[in-house]
């Protein structure tokens, strides 16, 4: 079936270091959405990418959508403690307008 693979599962960084998570789909996506889930919380929408090769920025967060619309990445520059949580990508499918969720990447700030 349709899958969205997300890596890594965990990433430990020192505060101030960068963080990147990657998503890869087995099929072409209509769009990709990114969500953040704080510990004990629920997923909160961050951004949606629709166009091939699209790049969007939100302050220290940079989101990219691949040229083939099969992969995406989220890069956080100079992480802060407020960035802690799990970041999920969710790919939209033209065939059924549903979202296929990645397993998430948990960002952990080393003390």
């Amino acid at each position: 079936g349709q899958q969205v693979m997300q890596i890594p599962q965990y990433q430990h960084v020192q505060e101030g270091e960068d963080f990147t998570t990657y998503c890869n789909s087995s099929t072409t996506l209509s769009n990709i959405q990114w969500y953040k889930q704080r510990p004990g919380g629920h997923p909160v929408f961050l951004i949606q990418l629709v166009k091939s090769g699209e790049v969007k920025k939100q302050k220290r967060l940079t989101f990219q959508f691949g040229e083939a619309k099969k992969n995406s990445s989220l890069h956080i520059t100079a992480t802060q403690t407020t960035d802690v949580g799990t970041y999920f990508c969710a790919g939209g499918m033209d065939s059924n307008y549903q979202l296929i969720w990645g397993a998430g990447t948990k960002l952990i700030i080393k003390p």
Partner: protein, 116 residues
């Protein structure tokens, strides 16, 4: 700011008992989703409603799970009988329309279920 409401926030039950979760989506949102999220994993779609109609329930274990949205507004998800493997977070989400390209989904706080 409008939010998705869910209750209860926490539920502890014994296996073989019945449990029910309630969700009230953001006013005006036609599409409602029930997800199950096991710790350390991404949300798994159980059922999707467009107004009062089920759009997709292919991943809903229909022998024990049921969901309804009778008036196309709030929704109830029921498990009967509960099994140990049902312990998870049950998330409700809503989106404005759902007919067309996948939309932003707004999540409620979830119901954390523990089956003993």
């Amino acid at each position: 700011e409008a939010e998705v409401a869910q209750s209860p926030r926490y539920k502890i039950t014994e296996k073989s008992q019945a449990v029910a979760f309630w969700c009230d989506p953001i006013s005006g949102h036609a599409t409602l989703y029930w997800y199950r999220q096991i710790l350390g994993q991404g949300p798994e779609l159980l059922v999707q409603f467009q107004d009062e109609s089920v759009v997709d329930d292919s991943q809903l274990p229909k022998d024990r799970f049921s969901a309804e949205r009778l008036k196309g507004v709030d929704s109830t998800l029921k498990i009967q009988p509960a099994e140990l493997g049902d312990s998870a977070m049950y998330l409700c989400a809503s989106s404005l329309n759902g007919a067309g390209a996948p939309e932003t989904q707004y999540f409620g706080p979830g119901t954390r279920l523990l089956v003993l």
